[in-house]
Amino acid sequence: MPDIDASFLALPRQELAAAALQRARDLGAAFAEFRLERIRSESISLRDSVLESAKDDEDLGLAVRVIHDGTWGFAAGVALTVDEAVGLAEQAVHMAQVSRPINAETIELADEPVYDDVTWISAYEIDPFTVPRAEKVALLTDYSDRLLKAEGVAHVSVHVATIHECKYYANTAGTSYTQQRVRIGPEITAHAVAGDRFDSMTSTAPPAGRGWEYMTGTGWDWDDELARIPGWLAEKLAAPSVEAGTYDLVIDPSNLWLTIHESIGHATELDRALGYEANYAGTSFATLDQLGTLKYGSPIMHVTGDRTAEHGLSTVGYDDEGVAGQQWDLVKDGILVGYQVDRRMAKKNEDVLGTPRSNGCAYADSSGHIPIQRMANVSLQPDPDGPSTEELIGRVANGIYIVGDKSWSIDMQRYNFQFTGQRFYKITDGKLDGQLRDVAYQATTTDFWGSMEAVGGPQTYVLGGALNCGKAEPGQSGAVSHGCPSALFRGVRILNTTQEAGR
């Protein structure tokens, strides 16, 4: 297990926190919290095996949030001085005072146990920032070369993002913690041009809460996937165009994670259900009055929220309100049974939610932003005795097996969605029958999940995810994982995207 980075521990975190929190108290704040965050990020891009860009960034800053006269106030800055910390506390209180006339609700927070000077570190082996740049570039050049040498591959692009995040949090209730997380997001794409058509094939390795070991084979078999991509791409370019219609679908976890993210993950965020995102990302059809009764999907549907999953991108010890990571049900036996909440929403809706405690879903993407209600790792649970992907395919007479994610879109209440993918295999009489192209699937959330006939067993389960989930105003980018097995859906609408383009 790695240690908390010594250079972060050397920063004057307690001193700055004490100064800010004391100033907030002196100014009459009923509650105040302080964050000091350092986010190191590295982005390496290769184009046709040549290093195109390599950038090493660090975002270091501090933030103070207060409740003053029942109103939030927030301020963030970058200078690591007591004067700055005190100034931010004053600015946050001032923001609350300016905002008070347009605040119609007194802010109250759900109780949470006090955690006194605790630490938490995510599960990874090799801090990417300890690996020499040249070593990383050499590995990625090798991966690029393997694809470029393959027949039919015209160009190869490689992007790897790595993030090392350290955070110190303290609040006036007495909680303080130091937390360190590492995540990595690789994307390797082969491009081909054939006659008047072009296409691409991207690796399906999801971003993960892992270190550099992920790029060398721990948690993903790069040798296998890189060897297969050129053949997959060539087959896709030569594949027949899909005939639009209704098909049974077997969806691989590499595609289904994104459908879960959009149609369940965001839909079960309570801030959306309550209207707090209405002007931007939208609300949710899964409104609070339907808790316990909304038939979300078929009876085999079991979806959990989880901030504790190993290697999860949304996995933490504690959130940005000092709440410990937890796991809970969102959809059980096909019924909506839970939400993702923060401390304010938990307090305000405790009677309906049936619990007085936040489930730890508040965080910001950096010290420069205010914590908002954010997504846990939201995952579809496998059937403990469930079938393999091949067995699911074997149950389909006329269908499509979809692998990998690509295009995604859903409406602002999470009803109508459309997704594409990396590869689409025709299923004929229970067997794969070559690739198809120009495929998109379109459905309404509850119809789609209601059509889920079977979920695969634990042997099909993969933890997918994204580094760049957008939400809130001002916009924030979040990282979140979604685990799922392969699953079988009956009677889903398939579009031909070439026809949709009027060609």
């Binding site: 939030w72 001032h94 347009i102 931007y280 295009s407 379109q442 105003e473 383009a501």
Partner: protein
């Protein structure tokens, strides 16, 4: 604590001196000082607010590497006199450990700009001095009238300093603001949206915005179900910007040259010179556009298809991307311009104007000329489905209206669409005058746009969305 905070000018000068002392052949130092302040509301009450200050320094060091030049790029926030030394050393060491950069070119020459010595410009919550009380009044009014308001106001100022070992000293400060407001009726069955960009909030009246929301919600007193299909549709400027921003982002010269975008020519090369539309449609960028001012020089913290860290400080010139329906230019760095064989580099500019020669009138005028069709408000969750055609999917949002005999006669359901903005430029049958627009999907990120309303005779509504 003894950490010494430097002025932006000192950061640049000391950074360049440290790079020279480390043996770098060249260096560019970028300093960005930012401040922002925002108010957010929902359900007729404030939900969050904030005042943020940011400061970042990016050091780009170059060294000779074999037959070429290598670059090392290191960025940090919260830079002090001590940490600047570490940043510069890291950038130089990274450059030394790197192979020659493909896009290497001599650093841009220049002199000291007249405003170089000025301090960063800042914003504060004071920008809402008039706006906030008026917003409070509109929230109270909405509560009294059993409507609900949700919205966001943001103001930010970015001051950028660019200094190079070749003598360049450039500074520019840019304010940017916008407000976006959604109204819903009492049972939340209908919504309406208005949004606008501003430089200082003196020209934004929340009560006037609320009046427009109320007018639009009134159109929903009659509701009509309309099936999916291809419908004559008026796209207001905000919706046109929702779509054209995607076209703008596809103007990458290298991606097109390598056969990966809608602007790639079959058989190789780009479609520069091709006629995209028989209509006299133009897509133009100019950093000096009044009201849409953008940075007047190239800023690149990393290299990509149309940008290069070696081009930092390159003066940006007014550029026609599309002129008279013909594709004139794609975005290029100096390297990419050479690669694809165009005479001059045409870097990205952070604004655009879409216009149609001779087009006059407003969205309402296009509606008045429509016998039967749809009027949109804005679009949402737009994503590329097929890069070859630039087929986009997305949804209508916050108000789709039925037009009959030139008048709005009711509200209809939302739709999912599948359409290509390149095709739309070839298919529109009427256009209005170009006006400043604020797009729903990307306006918070890319707000410096001006677009006309367009009438599309056969907009592809792929399916109905139940969202309201």
């Amino acid at each position: 604590m003894t950490a010494v905070q430097l002025t932006p000018q000192d950061t640049v000068e000391r950074g360049l001196a440290l790079a020279a002392a480390e043996g770098a052949d060249g260096c560019v130092v970028l300093v960005a000082e930012t401040s922002s302040t925002n108010l957010r509301w929902a359900n007729n009450t404030l939900t969050t607010n904030g005042a943020m200050r940011g400061s970042s320094v990016t050091v780009i060091a170059t060294v000779g590497a074999g037959e070429g030049t290598a670059a090392g790029v290191v960025g940090r926030s919260s830079v002090t006199e001590d940490s600047l030394r570490e940043i510069v050393a890291a950038a130089v060491a990274t450059a030394r450990a790197s192979a020659p950069a493909e896009d290497a070119r001599p650093l841009v020459d220049g002199t000291t700009g007249a405003d170089w010595d000025l301090e960063p410009e800042l914003t504060s919550v004071a920008v809402y001095e008039k706006f906030a009380p008026s917003l409070g009044e509109s929230l109270r009014q909405a509560t009294d009238e059993k409507r609900r308001l949700y919205g966001f106001a943001n103001h930010e100022v970015a001051t950028l300093y660019v200094g190079s070992s070749t003598g360049l000293r450039l500074r520019q400060a840019l304010p940017r603001g916008y407000v976006s407001s959604t109204g819903k009726n009492a049972d939340l069955s209908h919504s309406a949206w208005v949004g606008t960009a501003t430089r200082d909030f003196t020209d934004v009246d929340p009560l006037a915005l609320d009046t427009e929301l109320t007018r639009r919600l009134g159109w929903a007193s009659r509701t009509v179900s309309v099936d999916a299909g291809r419908h004559p549709t008026v796209l207001p400027p905000a919706a046109v910007a929702d779509l054209m921003t995607y076209l703008f982002w596809q103007l990458d010269g290298r991606d097109a040259f390598e056969g990966q975008t809608v602007f790639s020519k079959t058989g190789g090369g780009t479609r520069i010179g091709d006629t995209l539309s028989s209509q006299p449609v133009n897509l133009h960028s100019d950093p000096a556009l009044a009201g849409l001012e953008a940075f007047a020089f190239a800023v690149a913290r990393s290299s990509g298809g149309s940008s290069s860290v070696f081009d930092n400080g390159l003066q940006l010139a007014a550029t026609d991307w599309i002129r008279g329906g013909r594709l004139e230019h794609l975005m290029t760095s100096r390297y990419t311009a050479d690669l694809i064989g165009v005479p001059t580099a045409t870097p990205d500019i952070e604004n655009y104007v879409l216009s149609v020669d001779g087009a006059t009138g407003s969205t309402d005028d296009l509606v008045a000329g429509l016998d039967h069709g749809l009027l949109l408000t804005c679009l949402w969750y737009i994503r590329v489905v097929d890069p070859q055609t630039l087929l986009l999917t997305g949804l209508t949002r916050d108000g789709v209206y039925l037009v009959e005999n030139g008048e709005v006669t009711g509200a209809v359901n939302n739709f999912r669409f599948n359409e290509s903005p390149v095709d739309l430029l070839a298919r529109f049958t009427a256009a209005g005058a170009t006006v400043p627009s604020y797009s729903r999907e990307w306006g918070d990120y890319f707000s410096r746009t001006a677009t006309p309303p367009l009438l599309i005779p056969d907009y592809n509504m792929s399916s109905v969305s139940q969202a309201s």
